[in-house]
């Protein structure tokens, strides 16, 4: 028989294990009531944590990352430089919404999406990173809780526009090549 793709002997054997469901045995059936879940949600929504000091930590780290990237000579690992900016911003995205600043989450999420796809560090990208940083800092300093209404939408649209222009520019440069 000819050896084809699908009739070769298996080279990597996998062992499948079904561990006993100890948690299920402990907790039983039935789930939690809506009343308990509502209470937990209310507790989350009514938390009185001041997001300012936490945001400051991440904003400072993000700015350090931006400065490190700006000062880079070109020999540094790109992923390391990007992570220095991206990770603190991902923390802002994660925590803003947990502590009454969903607008911070919305702005930071846009920047995380931008940073996940950029392929180089250049001055225009650094300008965009700085703009996001400045905007998030202003939102936190101005204690703009909630979604920020029309003001929030305008901020996000402006930043989104900057990202789109960046991608448009690089798309064109790729087409020229």
């Amino acid at each position: 028989m000819d050896v084809q793709h699908y009739n070769q002997p298996q080279r990597r054997k996998a062992e499948y294990i079904k561990p006993p469901n100890l948690i299920k045995a402990k907790v039983g059936d039935g789930g939690l009531t809506d009343n308990i879940l509502d209470r937990a949600q209310k507790l989350l929504e009514n938390n009185s944590v001041d997001f300012g000091p936490l945001a400051d930590i991440y904003l400072t780290r993000m700015m350090e990352g931006i400065n490190r990237a700006k000062a880079a000579s070109g020999d540094e690992d790109l992923e390391y430089l990007i992570a220095g900016i991206l990770y603190p911003c991902a923390q802002l995205k994660a925590n803003g919404g947990m502590f009454h600043y969903p607008l911070v989450t919305r702005i930071a999420e846009r920047f995380v999406q931008f940073m996940e796809v950029v392929e180089r560090i250049d001055p225009q990208m650094m300008e965009i990173a700085t703009a996001f940083h400045t905007t998030i800092r202003a939102v936190v300093a101005g204690k703009v809780k909630g979604d920020g209404g029309q003001y929030g939408n305008e901020l996000v649209e402006a930043l989104n526009g900057a990202c789109m222009r960046y991608f448009e520019k690089h798309k064109k440069s790729l087409e020229k090549k």
Binding site: R12, K13, A14, E15, Y16, I17, K18, P19, N21, L22, I23, K24, K26, V27, G28, D29, G30, G31, L32, T33, I36, L37, R39, A40, Q41, L43, L44, N47, V49, L54, Y87, A90, Q91, L92, K93, A94, N95, G96, G97, M98, F99, P102, T105, A108, V112, Q113, E116
Partner: protein
């Protein structure tokens, strides 16, 4: 009848103190009997070995030891008292490649922040009601990465996209429920 969470021991590993306190409070409101707090992966692993909790909820980005490294230790370190323990990873990332990297480290469920109380509850229910079988293969040991369950199957499905259309309720961007086509453990 309701879940008896008072019998549960949950390890929460989070370096952000307000977030750690908030997660602990939510779990206590759920009725969890014992919440063990830790502030990074190394401390988390020590407490894991000491306390042998029923579940681990860990943040991804922590210094010096992050949630992925903690998961690897839980799954592979000989000192681990229970390599099968469910690990729920909390993170601000939701991009597919990040989810895949968490999945490949042996994470059971993925919880994207910010989350609400029901999001966290759903992940806990998932590990209770739909536990994953484990796979040991080459360098990988962890929950089976190929779980997709369908309760509304009504015909052949030959494409991943078909599954997304046919079982929207089973696919949650916060869960690790997709499987790369052609993957062989």
């Amino acid at each position: 009848m309701a879940y008896k969470f008072e019998t549960l021991k949950v390890l929460v590993v989070e370096d952000n103190k307000p977030m750690l306190d908030l997660t602990r409070s939510i779990l206590q409101t759920f009725g969890v009997g014992k919440v063990i707090p830790a502030t990074d992966g190394n401390q988390g692993f020590s407490l894991f070995c000491e306390e042998n909790p029923d579940m681990v909820i860990a943040d991804w980005m922590m210094q010096p030891c992050d949630g992925i490294s903690l998961t690897r230790m839980v799954r592979n370190d000989p000192r681990s008292p229970n390599p099968y323990v469910p690990v729920i990873l909390m993170t601000g990332f939701s991009e597919k490649r990040r989810v895949i990297s968490a999945r490949d480290a042996g994470v059971t469920e993925f919880l994207v922040k910010p989350f609400n109380a029901r999001d966290l509850y759903r992940r806990i229910v998932q590990v209770i009601e739909k536990p994953r079988q484990f796979v040991r293969s080459g360098s990988f040991f962890g929950p089976d990465r190929r779980r997709i369950s369908s309760t509304v199957y009504n015909g052949p499905m030959r494409r991943a996209e078909d599954m997304l259309v046919k079982t929207p309720g089973d696919i949650n961007s916060g869960d690790i429920t997709f499987s790369p086509i052609g993957e062989r453990d």
